[in-house]
């Protein structure tokens, strides 16, 4: 035990004396949260749109006014010709031009259809799709209102209630998502690199001939990283809560418990990677390339899994980050307890043991 303590202290010193790396490890989550919070916004708010009104009647003015008044849009430019559209898009001022065709009001109540064209700069397809949907909805509501204007009340209305996230804030997605990404990548990467480093430089041989047992070596290697990752997790939760008002409705202890489980899982994955690689470069590239994209894309962090092709949905079942993300979203945002997330917890535990057994086996082989 005393030997192990000595080894542990050595590991801590090793890690904490490299101030540069240390700072970066703590800066990564903060920078990422801030970027997601302030820079990357898939939600539209006050998006600039232009109007090309070839009719200039009361109805087109009313519709334009409604679009301008909506919180999603600002009518920033009025164009005069079709040929202005290309210029407008190239200048990058906005991504949509609403074109009212001539005689709009006349056709609106007449036999012909009144035509409104939405022309979008679709070089960013997701954004243009969103803008298109929201504008269409505003115009359709207007049409419905006009049709029903003679009746005392609007005939059918909808009362939407947004559960768990009334303000439709994107922070509810990216704070848990970033936490998942950071814990997964940094933990797996740090562990695998630091173990392989000993192999590459040759000091692993020295450790192996020491009276320390293989399990003790692994434990000594990963313990400092558990601590680091817990600090990272807490700082992300605090940032999310204080700056972006992401609540923790459920039990904080459960949240921490699940997070520690996930961290241990990622550590074991890191140990496993280190047991199958020989150089730091390979360990790094595996833990970065092979983990980063699946963790971002197949966990439900940014893109909803239900919308993906079936094959990818099946693939997502082996992505550990998916289970952790479901669990922490449930705890933080829905406030539910173990009864709702026991499946996810079980899967994470299973994965932890899987990697533990695999790497202990590999590790022994190495000796």
């Amino acid at each position: 035990m005393k030997r192990f303590r000595g080894f542990l202290i050595k590991e801590f010193i090793h890690i904490f004396r490299d101030v540069r790396t240390m700072m970066i490890l703590f800066l990564i989550p903060i920078a990422q949260i801030l970027i997601f919070g302030y820079v990357i916004k898939n939600e539209i708010h006050d998006a600039n749109v232009a109007v090309l009104d070839l009719s200039k009647d009361n109805i087109t003015k009313e519709i334009s006014g409604r679009i301008d008044a909506a919180p999603d849009f600002v009518v920033s430019d009025y164009l005069n010709n079709y040929s202005d559209i290309k210029e407008y898009f190239s200048s990058g001022k906005g991504a949509e031009v609403i074109v009212f065709e001539p005689n709009f009001a006349e056709n609106f109540y007449g036999q012909d259809n009144a035509r409104v064209q939405l022309i979008l700069d679709a070089s960013d397809p997701n954004l243009s799709n969103l803008i298109n949907n929201y504008t269409s909805a505003i115009i359709q509501t207007y049409i419905a209102d006009q049709t029903m204007s003679n009746s005392p009340n609007a005939i059918i209305t909808t009362e939407p209630r947004m559960w768990f996230n009334e303000g439709l804030k994107s922070s509810y997605m990216f704070v848990p998502g970033t936490m998942t990404l950071i814990l997964m990548l940094i933990t797996a990467m740090m562990t695998s690199i630091s173990i392989v480093r000993e192999k590459e430089i040759g000091t692993m041989e020295i450790l192996l001939v020491s009276p320390l047992k293989p399990l003790q070596i692994i434990l000594g290697k990963v313990t400092p990283y558990i601590l680091l990752s817990i600090i990272n997790a807490i700082s992300i939760i605090l940032l999310g809560n204080l700056i972006f008002h992401v609540p923790i409705i459920g039990s904080t202890i459960l949240l921490l418990g699940v997070s520690i489980l996930f961290i241990i899982m990622a550590l074991m994955l890191g140990v496993f990677i280190s047991s199958v690689t020989k150089t730091q470069q390979i360990a790094m590239f595996i833990s970065m390339f092979a983990l980063m994209l699946p963790t971002i894309l197949l966990s439900g962090f940014i893109f909803p899994i239900e919308n993906m092709p079936k094959v990818l949905q099946w693939l997502s079942y082996i992505v550990p980050a998916k289970y952790y993300l479901i669990a922490i979203k449930n705890i933080m945002l829905k406030g539910v307890g173990v009864a709702f997330i026991w499946k996810e917890i079980l899967v994470l535990m299973g994965m932890t043991f899987f990697f533990l057994i695999l790497s202990v086996k590999k590790f022994k082989l190495y000796i």
Binding site: A122, I155, Q281, L297
Partner: protein, 372 residues
């Protein structure tokens, strides 16, 4: 000249004899590109919704069949029970639960107006917004159809009619692949350039082999050229390869000129490799390199507009992007590939990128010390 040739030979040998590293560099990114391009979609399809029909009238049935006909929703009818709403949402059994109130048809017929309650799981705010919009579209169109056609309604409505047509320029199929593929190419090239260069140089430091080179009569510029040139060449090949895959597999548009594309790539690689050299000047271990680069890489990639266009970012972020190397290249590559931009359309970005490359490369070489 012969010295450089020998160093080049050594470097290429070292890169290509590494049987594990090569597939990792070339295969993993491409396999991932091919697979994950399909994952990056925000399109809403077959969202699970539950409908509780308290009314069970012909109108409510008509509404339900309208929902069933919609490609956006997968409808399940649930026995009305108010307590079930929160249960369905808590257990993620439905994205949205719609309640059609009792007396729905009667209230519509008597023109008192009826309200449909929609409960949406809004943790993913963006999807929730879309679901709400699609539900409203269906409800609105039912209302319009009903009032304009149904003779039962004995009031004097003037049906308004307008047709909304959407046209999507530059990417008519709204294919997100076309947006994300150039972005992935940029990431690949950056990885090749910056990461490999820095790791390779620091590895020599860490292993101590740099000392052996330092005592040889090889000059600093020869050594640096020999070290960097292979990655520059590999980077260009990777870019060509990625482009080919994008063309063959996804029919990715290539509107602009090939020579402009590769000119931009060649210039950007100087910048990327220069940054790698710069990092290696300061870092002592590969671990340091990795985390240092990982940090800046994440920040730069996310800010460069890989997922969302730069225009939708706040002003200060756009200002920060002036020093973001990836930003320039991302913009140039997308403009060439998707919009068919010519040199004059992207002149500012090209000049900025060129100046940036020269500055970084000169500074990094100047900082590089052959001896300690």
């Amino acid at each position: 000249m012969r010295v450089i040739y020998y160093i080049l030979q050594k470097e290429f040998k070292q890169i290509f004899r590494n049987r594990i590293m090569l597939p990792i560099i070339f295969v993993i990114p491409f396999v991932q590109t091919i697979v994950f391009v399909y994952a990056a979609t925000l399109e809403l399809k077959n969202a699970d919704i539950s409908i509780m029909d308290y009314d069970k009238s012909s109108l409510s049935k008509r509404l339900i069949s309208d929902f069933e006909a919609s490609p956006f929703f997968e409808v399940s009818k649930i026995v009305p029970n108010n307590n079930a709403v929160s249960d369905l949402l808590l257990k993620d059994k439905a994205k949205a639960v719609i309640l059609i109130p009792q007396g729905f048809e009667k209230d519509v017929l008597s023109l008192d107006g009826a309200a449909i309650q929609i409960n949406i799981n809004a943790i993913d705010g963006q999807s929730a917004g879309l679901i709400n919009v699609y539900i409203q579209q269906i409800v609105n169109s039912l209302a319009i159809k009903y009032l304009s056609s149904d003779i039962n309604v004995q009031i004097n409505t003037i049906p308004a009619n307008a047709e909304i047509r959407s046209r999507f320029w530059y990417n008519p199929g709204l294919n997100f692949k076309y947006y994300i593929l150039p972005g992935i190419l940029v990431i690949l090239v950056t990885m090749m350039g910056t990461f490999l260069t820095a790791l390779n140089l620091v590895r020599e430091k860490e292993m101590g082999t740099i000392e052996q080179i330092n005592v040889t009569p090889i000059k600093k510029w020869q050594f640096i050229t020999g070290k960097l040139l292979p990655f520059w060449i590999i980077g260009i090949i990777v870019m060509g390869f990625g482009l080919l895959i994008g063309r063959l597999l996804y029919n990715m548009p290539f509107e602009g000129s090939i020579s402009l594309f590769f000119l931009a790539t060649a210039i950007y690689l100087i910048l990327a490799i220069g940054l790698g050299l710069l990092v290696s000047d300061y870092a002592n271990t590969q671990q340091q390199v990795m985390f240092l680069l990982f940090f800046f890489f994440l920040v730069f990639v996310l800010m460069s507009g890989i997922f969302t266009s730069e225009e939708s970012m706040p002003d200060w972020a756009q200002a920060v992007n002036r020093i973001n190397p990836i930003y320039y290249f991302m913009k140039i590559i997308r403009a060439i590939l998707l919009k068919g931009a010519e040199l004059k359309n992207i002149l500012t970005e090209m000049i900025s990128m060129t100046v940036y490359s020269i500055l970084v490369m000169v500074f990094a070489v100047w900082k590089y010390r052959k001896t300690h």
